[in-house]
Symmetry: C2
């Protein structure tokens, strides 16, 4: 297919396709004339993956290149190829400096969270960016004097585990690895605001049931919506 | 207690306490001398609440004032007082303009989500900011060509409902309403990154179990951590 059709099929503009070609994120097509090339289905798949990495995943071009390099390398299994994409997704949280007064609490929470994952039997790498994000969140909560004990976090982990399993089951529908990586990145990122919104809606329902004065009466009504 | 002790007890700096006093977010203490006032436990509670609204909740001074006005008004019940705080928390998403090509999809998704909440029996106001956030998330997912059907979202909602109930049960431990509002704001916001981090860690564990080549082998190892 021509460049214009590739653009239409993938939903990526012609100018952006040319940019990806220049950056080496997309392999050149087969030359047909001096100014035209022919593109195939593998280009459509790759374009969607590149778009997911850069646009949805917020990766830099270099990070996307690293993900693609591993995705193409037959030396790595499906776990590694999916994982490298997940690890490149932000946020990437760093521990406080050794001299930072918060560092002691950080180290203590980090050890506690590692212990919790081991107790849960979760196979998670010490270097997982999400582990640092978890430690960051717990440190913030405790620094402000709020509760976030290991047992509280365990309950969240156990409640989220079946959801995560259902989510990864969807990837099974994508035997093509590029499609699976694209889906993993897209669903990981795009469903985050959906989860947070549903949690707040569930809070509203709980509050209405426990404290609401009349059926159908819902909160926030006293003043105009912000 | 003196201003310095109030600052120490609440974890809010003296300069910030003075700012809240000037902005009327904190009632003046009882004058002792021309330059000193005496503060009580109600000031400690109020300070922690104001800090939670502004710092953790990211509200403007005016939004915090609105929350405090409702929190103090005996005409409102516990549901309304908790709710007004939750409604002031961002993000506050607006529907696209009537002329925006995305508007048709937005309206369709909004009707579908309203229908889902009704089917679930959730008592949620049409004006709930989290409902607009949910619609925004679903519109984004579908616009990019990914799946986010009503039944998919129902499963997330049903999985999150018991978590939300456990979370609000914690508020029961705060019979004082100002403390309950503070806790509602703080736990709603501070636990969001924790939930998202745990979900990604759960994904890593699922991937390691399904696709991992050897026990303990975890993903992301092929290249240095980003």
């Amino acid at each position: 297919m021509r460049l214009s059709e590739l653009s239409a099929r993938s939903g990526v503009s012609v100018a952006t396709v040319k940019y990806y070609l220049r950056e080496g994120l997309l392999a050149p097509g087969t030359p047909v004339t001096a100014r035209q090339s022919d593109y195939g289905e593998e280009h459509v798949r790759r374009l969607r993956l590149v778009r997911a990495l850069l646009t949805v995943g917020g990766m830099t071009v270099q990070q996307a290149r690293d993900v693609l390099a591993v995705a193409e390398d037959p030396a790595f299994g499906r776990h590694e190829r999916l994982g490298v994409a997940q690890y490149m997704l932000g946020p990437h949280v760093e521990p406080p400096e050794e001299t930072d007064p918060e560092r002691e609490l950080w180290d203590q929470v980090a050890a506690e969270m590692r212990g919790l994952l081991d107790e849960l039997g979760w196979r998670v790498n010490d270097e997982a960016p999400a582990l640092a994000s978890l430690v960051r969140a717990v440190v913030s909560i405790r620094s402000l004097g709020y509760r976030s004990g290991k047992e509280d976090i365990r309950r969240y982990a156990e409640a989220l585990r079946p959801i995560a399993e259902e989510e990864y089951a969807v990837l099974e529908g994508h035997p093509n690895l590029e499609e699976a990586i694209e889906a993993a990145v897209a669903y990981t990122v795009l469903y985050e605001p959906l989860l947070l919104a549903l949690r707040r809606l569930a809070h509203e329902d709980v509050s209405a049931r426990w404290y609401g004065t009349a059926p159908g009466r819902t909160h926030g009504t006293p003043i105009s919506s912000p």
